[in-house]
Structures are given as C-alpha cells and as structure tokens.
C-alpha cells in the first residue's frame, strides 16, 4: 500500500498542521511516511500546501505530481490541484466554502462541510481537524484511535485545551462520514 495525499488551502487554515497530524499518526502505526511542505513567499496570506505519502515500504520521492487523494480547503486550491488528481482518485473538499456543483467524472468526490461543522462547535478556524476526521473515516488508511491518541498527550500545558478541542472536532468529522 502506498497513498500520496496533497493537502491544500489558504495560509492560516492549518493545512501544514493537518499534514503533520496525519504524519504523526502514521508514525505511531509504524508506517513509512513523508511530509513535504510548500515553503517560502507563497505561504504569506496566499496558498499553502503539503504532500503526505503513507506507505508500507520505503518511500522514494517525497514529492508527487499525480496524487491519489486530494484535500482542498478553498476554491483556489481546487482549481490548482484538481487537474492533477489520479483517475478514480478521491477528492475531499470543504463544501461550506466550495458550494458549486463539481464535475465528478472519474473521481470520488467527498464533500465535507467542515467550516460549518467547526463553526457550530464555536471553532470555525479548526475546519482542518473536522476534515481530518472525515478523511480517516472515509479512507481507512489509518486507525481512528491513532489520530485521537495524538491529542491525548499534550506535553505543553498551554496546549491541553486546544488538544481537547481538536479531539472533539476530529470526532465530528468521523461522525459526519459515518452517520450521513
């Protein structure tokens, strides 16, 4: 098994953090995993993206042109990365922000109203964690418990509250896929 995932959105949406959590959870499961960010000037208020590859074998290139899975958190990222998605690939998108109908030929589209769900929880900036939950529930690449456990051991006491909130948001994302 090897899955390449590109996660994209605007700076501040927690795109790189979403990727980091995914990477940490893969490490817990002793999988091979790489995380590669966009870096430099494009991050300032513009778009941010990162590539995560999860595999059972040694990973060659940490960079891919044709991802198996795409997670997009805004319209600009959808336009930029949609053409590169592998045929029959999965497209997760924030359907609170991308409201128009998408052409779904040759792809599996997974709309997740993550900004709205996070907003209902009083945490609209944490739509990334809802999306993470949805991603885990839908793909089954990693165990739900691995993701949840990331937020169990906050070594920094200032982060305990944020970690608890993240855990709830991830659960909401899982619920959304499993119960709708």
């Amino acid at each position: 098994m090897q899955k390449s995932i590109i996660i994209a959105g605007s700076g501040g949406q927690g795109i790189l953090f979403l990727g980091r959590v995914l990477t940490s959870a893969s490490m817990i499961e002793r999988k091979e995993v790489t995380w590669f960010p966009s870096y430099g000037a494009e991050m300032r208020g513009g778009t941010a993206n990162c590539t995560v590859i999860i595999s059972d074998e040694m990973i060659g290139s940490p960079v891919v042109m044709i991802p198996d899975i795409l997670i997009v958190m805004n319209r600009a990222s959808l336009d930029r990365f949609r053409p590169s998605l592998r045929k029959k690939g999965m497209l997760f998108y924030d359907s609170s922000l991308i409201t128009e109908k998408l052409a779904k030929k040759d792809i599996i589209a997974v709309p997740v109203p993550s900004t709205n769900i996070a907003g209902d929880m009083g945490n609209p900036k944490s739509a990334n964690m809802v999306m993470l939950g949805a991603f885990i529930a839908k793909t089954g690449i990693l165990r739900k418990t691995s993701i949840i456990s990331i937020f169990d051991d906050a070594t920094d006491p200032r982060k305990i509250e944020a970690f608890r909130a993240n855990k709830e948001l991830v659960r909401k994302g899982i619920d959304y896929i499993e119960n709708t």
């Binding site: 990477t23 960010p37 060659g60």
Partner: protein, 355 residues
C-alpha cells in the same frame, strides 16, 4: 525485536539536533531559505546546553566566527544555502589552509545568482572541487533521507576533528524541509587525536600559531603536501556509497542526494517490470567512490547519471569509468525537482536503447 525510538522533525531540525548531540557548542549563521530552521532551532537549543548561538551580521562574519571558535577548540558549525555558501568560500579556503575542523552545511537552492528557493544540486562542483582558492578539498557528505541528516551530521564533526579539515554537508531544499520518522542514533565519540594545536591561552607553555599564511621558503609547499596526504588518506579510508540491485544490472543509474531517492522510486518500478536496472549512490562526494564505480564498469554495462543540475557529477563518473562504459546524463537545472514519473520515462527509454 524491540521497537526503535523514532523522532519526527524537519530535516533541518534533525541536522541541528544531531549537531548538538555530537557536541557542537558554537553556531553562527545568517538567514536564508531553505535552511532557516537550522538557526531557528539552534537559537532555542544552544542556550539549553550552554552553547553559543549567534545570528551574525553577514555570512562572512558567521563563517569567520566559526574559524575563531574552531581555533579555540570548539566543535563549530555554520549553515547557509547556495548564494550564502558562495560568500563563505574565502573563509572555507582559510579553514582548509589553517587545518581547522569545522562543519559547513549547504541546503542547496536553485542558482546561479540569487536563483530561487526550490531544491537543487547545482553546487556539486563548488562543494567537491574546492569552491575557494588554492589546492584544497572539503570532505563532502550527501544525505538522502532524514536518517542520514542525523547520522552524517554526527559523523561530519568526528571526521572534521580526525583530519583537521572543514567538512561540508551538501543537502538540498527537499531533505531540509521534509519530515519523516528517523531513529536518533545515540552519539558515540570515537577515539580522536588530542587537539594539541588549540589556542587556549599560553599559560605555562609557548605560544601556538594557527594560520594559513606560509611565507617562509618552501613552507607553503610543505603545508600543501600535508593537505594532499590527508586527501589521499580520505580516498583510502572514508569513501561511503550504497548500491541497489547493481549485481546483474545492464543499466546502472548513478545519483546522489535527493536525486538518488527520487531515482530509486523509478528504478524499483522498472525492476518490478523485469528490467535489469540498478542504482549506485555516492554518499561521500569527496572522497568520490571512483574505485567502486570503476569496478562496476566493463561487461557491456551502461551508466545513466541523473542530477538536479546541468551535468556536474557526471564528469567524475566518466573519469571513474575511464572509457570502459557508455555514460549518459539526464538533468534538470534551475531548481526543478524531478518527478518519479519523469525519471521512470527517461530511464525506461535509456534502458531500451542498446548501448
């Protein structure tokens, strides 16, 4: 088997922490992408171990501070990216001439000039052929994953002390910026010669001199012969390389650093399809694994060198092969990172072509 402890951090951070583990207690640098995580990390970390972190006023100042710290006996490091490394070349030549141990990190980006900030391998010539003036070499390590960012950094400090020489770690934007789990190998200090030349105050002894200026008759030639002897010894003792499926290979891909990693994806794919293809990866670029490559040439084998530049290491491969095999080249200059799909296509057609 007990599970190994694993760490997850960026390549630049892994390198910085490995330096601290190896006893580096002096770092001076000046910001430039894509290596900024190294000074950022050490600005926090150095005070914790009573080490010194300095963000200098320029690259020149930083590397000359490293010269001073090394002369005083500290394990010292500076880091930068391509344009900044060009600025440091004068002092690197001085370090080599004065026989001072130091570690210099180049997380390469696209050039020439200010170029761009994406990963590149275009500083190969500069790293292995001198870079500054005079007959000298740095020992050069080329990490291709985070495990090597950790392990080779610790090794760099030991080799710098062992040979009294500047050692360069030649990384790139990809290994610097990426994260992947790696095992933080504990540092084991090898037996190293005592630093009997250190400038630490002449109390109770005669003064010592550390310098690269040798004006006496024949003095400079003698210094040069000492350096050349060291380089010959390195060629005998310090070559590191790795081979993948080369035994029965009709086509051997030669690549270093991140190009080797991306190339390996394509080589494995072509192997799966039944093609006799392998990969040879120099880990030390100086000393270069010339003997190992020469041993693979002949028997109708062909070589394909891939680099993220316009063709630099390919010259050393051709020298090593010495006419005994056909050597082709594929490269992308200007900070373009290969894709596995692109290399798969190139290697497939190179394999198909009869040499």
């Amino acid at each position: 088997m007990p599970k190994k402890k694993m760490l997850l951090m960026k390549g630049n951070e892994a390198l910085a922490e490995a330096a601290v583990h190896a006893g580096c207690r002096f770092y001076a640098g000046y910001p430039i992408t894509p290596q900024n995580e190294i000074p950022e990390y050490l600005s926090r970390r150095m005070p914790e171990v009573e080490g010194i972190f300095i963000q200098a006023e320029s690259e020149l100042a930083a590397v000359n501070m490293v010269y001073g710290a090394a002369a005083a006996g500290a394990r010292a490091m500076t880091s930068s990216s391509s344009p900044g490394i060009s600025l440091k070349q004068e002092a690197i030549s001085f370090l080599a001439g004065a026989e001072l141990p130091a570690v210099i990190v180049n997380i390469q980006r696209g050039g020439p000039g200010l170029g761009n900030i994406t990963a590149s391998q275009a500083d190969y010539f500069q790293a292995v052929k001198g870079g500054g003036h005079g007959d000298y070499h740095c020992m050069v390590f080329s990490p291709f994953n985070l495990q090597e960012m950790w392990d080779l950094t610790m090794r760099a400090f030991d080799k710098a002390d062992q040979y009294r020489t500047p050692v360069m770690i030649l990384g790139d934007g990809v290994v610097g910026q990426m994260m992947e789990p790696f095992h933080p190998t504990p540092y084991k200090r090898p037996r190293l010669p005592r630093k009997s030349w250190v400038l630490n105050g002449a109390k109770g002894r005669g003064p010592r001199v550390v310098r690269s200026l040798c004006m006496g008759t024949g003095e400079l030639e003698q210094r040069n012969l000492i350096l050349q002897k060291k380089y010959e010894l390195m060629k005998k003792q310090e070559v590191m390389c790795e081979e993948y499926d080369t035994k029965d290979a009709a086509l051997i891909v030669v690549a270093f650093g991140i190009a080797a990693r991306i190339g390996l994806s394509a080589v494995k794919e072509l192997r799966k399809e039944g093609r006799k293809i392998g990969l040879f990866r120099p880990i030390t670029l100086f000393p270069f694994p010339a003997k190992q490559i020469a041993a693979l040439s002949g028997k109708g084998r062909r070589f394909m060198v891939i680099e993220m530049n316009a063709g630099q290491m390919v010259e050393d491969v051709r020298l090593a092969v010495n006419g005994k095999a056909d050597v082709q080249f594929y490269g992308r200059p200007g900070g373009v990172v290969f894709t596995p799909e692109e290399l798969y296509g190139k290697l497939k057609s190179a394999y198909g072509r009869r040499g």
